[in-house]
Symmetry: C2
Subunit: 345 residues, 2 copies
């Protein structure tokens, strides 16, 4: 395990042994306990960071004292923070999961600057990556969702992506190290657990090495995505002149409908609206299309003009466990902003 992780860190250029301190996200769960243990053994100068999200009462306190004790035993500096996750989520209209993620990564970034650290290491492993791939595939995601979890993303590095959940459990068994139940998964937990306990085992019946091959697919897609993003970057530079996008230049691109979608996505245009817009490119001028963020695209002769129209669609929020009956003389558009298992049409 140590040598595999050492090679992986080197191959992906994640950390430098002489590059200064490494912050390690430490929840107290099996994955993060292994991560801190391994990085210490590999000779990195670690500092442990623990987030207390105060979402599970007593259990949150138990996790925090476990993490503190473990860091102390590893002789590693330890910092902890308390988040009022539930109220932050409500205030910012985020799901609990998104709120926790934002609070966590914001603090990590802040600590990274404050302590002048080379990176923050987090404990995602290969099975997390595969589960994410399958979850996104089953949601109809495009290439960006199908590349698994990245080894490096800005200041965040993931040295355990080369090992599996089973490898981590084995390692902890070998060194006789205990851990607490990880409490960092929130609303995705149902989907993720189902994939872990039902979908993946059914695939393994057919191909016992399926986790390895899925990880290989993700890696290949990641290379394809890099190429895809480089073309988008080029398109962004070539196609736009101020607020005008050249239609003939757009149509010279491969998969030009997708390129158009990617160009308009930052303004809140959906695939569906872009698809209608794309069909109008060869037709007469003057037609307008609106995004829910208040942007308008007008088809001019040989270009598309984009401006801020101010019109936004009215939205109505459906809360958990409420049943709605809607009557209207007008067509109503329902958009699923956040899906969970309680949602039914």
């Amino acid at each position: 395990m140590l040598s595999r992780i050492r090679s992986f860190i080197k191959e992906h250029n994640l950390l430098d042994i002489n590059g200064g301190i490494v912050l390690v996200g430490l929840s107290g769960g099996a994955d993060s306990v292994s991560l801190l243990d391994v990085l210490c053994k590999l000779g990195y100068d670690c500092v442990a960071l623990h987030c207390n999200f105060h979402l599970r009462g007593e259990e949150s306190e138990r996790d925090e004292s476990f993490a503190r004790e473990f860091a102390k035993r590893k002789k590693v500096p330890y910092f902890a923070i308390d988040f009022q996750t539930a109220s932050f989520a409500e205030k910012n209209k985020l799901s609990i999961e998104m709120a926790a993620r934002q609070l966590r990564y914001d603090w990590f970034e802040e600590m990274c600057k404050k302590l002048n650290a080379q990176a923050v290491a987090v404990a995602h492993h290969r099975d997390d990556s595969i589960e994410t791939l399958l979850m996104n595939l089953m949601r109809g995601s495009g290439i960006r969702g199908l590349v698994g979890i990245r080894p490096k993303n800005g200041y965040v590095v993931r040295p355990l992506l080369c090992v599996s959940r089973a490898d981590i459990q084995d390692w902890l068994g070998q060194i006789g190290q205990t851990y607490v139940t990880d409490s960092t998964n929130f609303s995705d937990e149902y989907t993720r657990n189902y994939i872990r306990l039902r979908v993946l085992p059914s695939m393994e019946q057919l191909n016992p090495a399926v986790r390895v091959t899925l990880a290989r697919s993700a890696m290949h897609l990641s290379a394809a995505e890099e190429i895809y993003l480089s073309v988008l970057e080029k398109a962004r530079k070539e196609l736009w002149k101020g607020n005008s996008l050249s239609i003939p230049q757009l149509l010279a691109y491969p998969a030009s409908e997708t390129i158009l979608y990617e160009m308009l996505r930052p303004y809140g245009f959906s695939r569906q609206v872009v698809s209608s817009l794309f069909m109008c490119l060869g037709r007469e001028s003057g037609k307008s299309f609106y995004s829910p963020l208040g942007w308008r695209v007008i088809k001019d002769r040989d270009c598309l003009l984009i401006d801020k129209d101010g019109k936004t669609e009215e939205t109505m929020e459906f809360k958990k466990d409420q049943l709605f009956k809607i009557q209207s003389d007008f067509p109503i558009k329902c958009q699923l902003i956040q899906y969970n298992e309680h949602f039914r049409f």
Copy 2:
């Protein structure tokens, strides 16, 4: 069903109602029976083509007479051909599946030219496409294997890709049309059936619309693949000067290791060999790499030189149901040329 298929044909520009005759592959199974029925009802000038692969004895004859009778009832010209698939496969060292595919498509192409047809329509539907996607994902395929089945590929078109297996069964029930059990799936059948009967239903438990979302993922990947292939095409033109490939120009590409793999793949170089080669790019010159097809790549100062070396690796074939025990003082490389469920290391 009729209108959906009509729109799909139009959207993907598959067939032209005034474009001349359409050949239709007719096995006699539910899918191809529906296809011929639908295309006739949509007003296309159809001709039925039946392949008898002589692989299932009596059943092959039953299928052939069913197809002939059905074509006759639809008042559609009918051609059949007999293939000695098993002996063709043995002679050309192909799997039965590959042999049948090659014989079938070669004959389709020949008939397309002979009858001056606009295209050959085959009966793959959305579930075939999704099963192929999952099968390839589980094999660790790259983006090319994850785009599902294409609506159009040269002279072959697939008008039923917009409908599901269930839609086809419903349609046949509605019009009271019988069919025979399709006998065109061979060695993939075990894998494909497993995915159909176990993997997909387990995914559907989580997301009842998973077939729709998987098809959407495949469509998005297909657009990404188009962009990927266009970059490869550009790389092919830019990087090669005769038998020499420029290293600095290669390294200027995104995902340059993958670009190098794609440039050397036609010469039989594996991902693994290309990966070793890629790691040597910054090092001293003179190192050579060989492909099993007899090609050699030499790292020169700022380029890679490729030539035909003639050396090929010795291979040894393992036949079904044989158990091998190998002792050797030399490292042995095992390559899995064709996988089936009997293979165990």
